[in-house]
């Protein structure tokens, strides 16, 4: 564990002086995401900026440097029976907490336990002027100043290098049970939403290959009683299934070379009329699709379902991979970017071609 803030700051200041752009890299496990990284840029590596800075289990708050691998954080939490409730995906052992926030990645529990964006309480950030700034804090409630911490979620480093993160953590559920049963795609959206509307300890609802998987987690008494009442067979390898879905390691993600598209839409929205393979997670709010398509073809389908589509992996990453923005929001985002990074040093073009 090491505090490399001085070196990082110096590197940013130097880049600014030399009019050099920087690609921010943590563990390097998310290089496949977003648009292609700029070939002209140097690397600003956060991989060595690691370590848990503060952790008081009783406060339900943990603070770590951005380069800290998720597995180190989860191991520290597990010692005290706690966990990251948003189930961050790991795309390799080196996946870091900083990259998780920058890409706003959360696992199957997201609709019930919130996302990484929901759990972040504060950050430290190196902006494009080389200033090391602190926003939010280490307390669960804080409305002093704009919420710059959560603004970073999904910004993919375009606003600066996140150097430290404080997160809300939660007790690990005492028991987990997964129920599985056959169900056709045209029934499952209604079914998953219905179940989500019941006051039961549900923390996962996924459909793939004609089967629906529901996960119950919490106090043993509540989980057992609900499992008894709900239909479906208890799955022996439940935890493994959810981990594979979380880390994109399920066969659905591995079996083909076709581009992977992510629809983030209304959970109860009708399925887009699109032939091909689907995996539905988050009780229908996150729908993965494999297929050759163009963003502009898919966007109207996502809009009709109340949400958005993005190209998550593969396909043409030289073009846009994120949904088109209306002109007014483009203007605002350009100005926000400029307010953090006036010389456009960080991750040019990674999020949008125009940012």
């Amino acid at each position: 564990m090491a505090d490399q803030i001085q070196e990082l700051q110096e590197q940013v200041l130097q880049a600014r002086r030399n009019k050099q752009t920087l690609n921010i890299v943590g563990g390097g496990t998310k290089a496949f995401m977003g648009r292609l990284a700029s070939a002209d840029a140097s690397t600003l590596s956060l991989a060595g900026h690691t370590g848990i800075v503060e952790y008081h289990p009783v406060e339900l708050v943990l603070t770590a440097r951005a380069g800290t691998p998720l597995q180190d954080i989860e191991a520290a939490l597990a010692e005290h029976g706690q966990c990251l409730h948003f189930e961050p995906p790991r795309f390799g052992d080196r996946s870091t907490i900083g990259g998780t926030l920058a890409c706003n990645l959360s696992g199957p529990a997201r609709p019930w336990s919130g996302s990484v964006r929901d759990q972040v309480l504060g950050i430290r950030l190196l902006n494009g002027k080389g200033e090391h700034l602190r926003f939010g804090g280490e307390v669960l409630k804080n409305v002093a100043g704009y919420d710059v911490s959560r603004l970073q979620a999904g910004a993919m480093g375009t606003l600066g290098a996140i150097t430290e993160i404080s997160l809300k953590v939660m007790p690990k559920p005492a028991t987990t049970v997964t129920l599985v049963q056959d169900m056709a795609l045209d029934e499952v959206i209604h079914y998953m939403n219905k179940r989500s509307g019941e006051p039961k300890p549900i923390t996962g609802a996924c459909w793939v290959d004609g089967k629906v998987y529901l996960r119950l987690a919490g106090a043993r008494s509540a989980v057992d009683a609900t499992a008894e009442k709900w239909s479906g067979v208890v799955m022996a390898q439940g935890d493994q299934f959810w981990q594979q879905v979380r880390d994109l390691q399920h066969d659905f993600f591995k079996a083909s070379e076709a581009p992977l598209w992510r629809f983030s839409v209304g959970s109860a929205a009708t399925m887009p009329a699109l032939e091909g393979r689907w995996l539905l997670d988050w009780a229908g709010a996150q729908r993965w699709y494999r297929g050759q398509a163009t963003l502009s073809d898919l966007e109207p389908l996502a809009r009709a379902a109340g949400g958005q589509v993005s190209l998550f992996r593969g396909g043409d990453r030289a073009g846009e991979v994120m949904p088109a923005q209306p002109e007014a929001l483009k203007t605002i985002q350009r100005r926000v970017k400029n307010s953090f990074d006036p010389d456009g040093i960080f991750n040019p073009g990674r999020l949008y071609s125009w940012l």
Binding site: G114, L140, K141, L151, P171, R220, S264, I332, R335, S339
Partner: protein
């Protein structure tokens, strides 16, 4: 605001009256009067005009006109805010969203509701109840406060530890930008690509846009909820018990603490049967399925007993639960009864410093010769010290304000923050200089400029000017030095 207005009050009122019913364009001082403050009445200002449009197109037009003529715009919901965030600007327009009070759509299957900004917080849960659903955040003012205001302040309530703040419970907002564009942030999906502008807007106190529609998530109503009240003979023990519950792995739906002043005031007020001899009282609500609640209540009682509770009572019916909560929920009016005025603070601290902070606060109370009662969202570390004073006694208001400032600075000192859920507004703008350095404040100003280049939206709130901060910090520094010198001589 960088430029002067380019239109007179009369001209502006006439312009608005061309498209808004003249009864809803207010320009006479008598009718303007009720708008001079929000829920924090110690800060007052009469606006130039109040306008109450009833269509989004009209809101958009009002903002476009104000933008064109450099007129400040202060958006206002129900006016229940506690930081003077909706205090008018004397050369500006108060844009009231009070007429936007319709629930536009409620989808029981998707568990969402699409709302106009003036819909009352409680009205959402009342409407959703028929489907076994409710809206999570429940600020004390929920009977009156509006969802638009909740977004502006990122409102919380007593159930945040488990169910989150406003930012965790909304899917999208539609807003009008300072330049008059109508935009939507967020979607029906749980997240959108790119930087999270929805989060940035939440809690931005009307400085970045005017919210015209909100889509919220609804939660299934828990099968059962039971509350335990546990008395303790010291604050420290009660604080340890809070930690004990959380370490045990239970996340209560609500976890509240009151000190002895608050216990007695609230028990006198609503006869909840609180243990009046206790130095601290915990209210711990457990909710969930029947089996889960049964299990967790038994475990929580055992934890409290082990950690020295002097009394334990668990609600056995919905009526009893409501009665036990009534004390906590009426803490503010109850305290209002024992003092002509009170000033409610809103700092948040890491819970481990609770005893230290409360003790320091008692000492300060002696220094300032004022009483302070404490109610506390113990689960999430959010303190609400109520400073009791009498505005009719010369100097007491100023003392209360100075006392309040010191409390907030103490919160920052132990690693907390100056406001957990009430917002900065005008009230805490000075303490922003303690919480943030100049570079951070400048970053806030730059964000503001990205949304509102001419600075017409709620100017003078939320973020102090850097010059002001430098002055404030140097005065504070001198004062503290002075006090230290006095203390060492005294």
């Amino acid at each position: 605001m960088t430029d002067k207005p380019t239109i007179s009050r009369e001209q502006l009122a006439d312009t608005f009256r061309q498209f808004i019913d003249p009864a809803f364009v207010i320009s006479d001082d008598e009718t303007l009067k009720p708008y001079e403050c929000d829920g924090l009445a110690m800060y007052r200002e009469l606006p130039m005009l109040v306008v109450l449009p009833d269509t989004v197109a009209h809101v958009q037009r009002v903002i476009c006109i104000c933008h064109e003529h450099n007129i400040p715009v202060v958006a206002r919901g129900a006016g229940t805010g506690l930081c003077a965030g909706a205090m008018p600007h004397k050369e500006g327009v108060v844009l009231s969203l009070a007429r936007f009070d319709r629930i536009l759509e409620l989808d029981p299957l998707a568990r969402t509701a699409r709302l106009q900004p003036g819909v009352r917080n409680l009205a959402i849960s009342e409407e959703a109840a028929q489907y076994g659903l409710y809206y999570g955040p429940d600020p004390s003012s929920q009977i009156a406060c509006s969802i638009g205001g909740n977004v502006a302040e990122n409102a919380g309530g007593v159930h945040c530890l488990k169910y989150g703040l406003t930012v965790h419970n909304i899917l999208s907002v539609e807003m009008i930008t300072a330049e008059g564009d109508r935009v939507t942030l967020g979607s029906d999906g749980l997240d959108c690509s790119g930087m999270d502008l929805l989060a940035l807007i939440t809690g931005s106190e009307g400085l970045l846009g005017v919210v015209t529609e909100v889509k919220v998530k609804l939660l299934p109503k828990p099968e059962v909820a039971q509350v335990i009240i546990a008395g303790f003979d010291s604050i420290e023990k009660a604080g340890d018990a809070v930690g004990g519950i959380i370490s045990h792995g239970i996340i209560p739906g609500g976890l509240e603490m009151m000190d002895s002043h608050a216990i007695i005031a609230t028990d006198d007020f609503c006869h909840a049967g609180y243990p009046r001899e206790a130095k601290a009282l915990l209210l711990c609500e457990v909710d969930g399925t029947e089996e889960e609640v049964q299990q967790h209540i038994a475990e929580a009682e055992a934890v409290f007993r082990k950690l020295g509770a002097t009394s334990i009572r668990t609600s056995q019916s919905e009526e009893e639960r409501a009665l036990l909560w009534k004390g906590r929920k009426s803490a503010f009016p109850a305290v209002g009864r024992i003092s002509p005025d009170y000033y409610c603070m809103d700092g948040t601290i890491p819970r481990r410093y609770l005893a230290r902070v409360l003790l320091a606060m008692e000492k300060m109370a002696e220094e300032f010769a004022l009483r302070v009662a404490n109610v506390f969202h113990a689960g999430d570390g959010n303190l609400h010290p109520l400073i009791l004073f009498d505005a009719n006694v010369p100097g007491e208001l100023e003392s209360a304000e100075a006392f309040g400032s010191r409390i907030l600075e103490l919160c920052v000192e132990v690693g907390g923050c100056i406001t957990g859920e009430h917002g900065v507004g005008v009230e805490k703008i000075r303490q922003m200089a303690v919480q943030f350095n100049d570079n951070e404040l400048q970053q806030f100003h730059d964000i503001k400029a990205a949304f509102d280049p001419t600075g017409i939206l709620n100017p003078g709130k939320g973020v102090p000017t850097l010059r002001f901060c430098q002055e404030y910090r140097s005065i504070e520094h001198k004062q503290h030095k002075h006090e230290q010198v006095e203390a060492s001589h005294g």
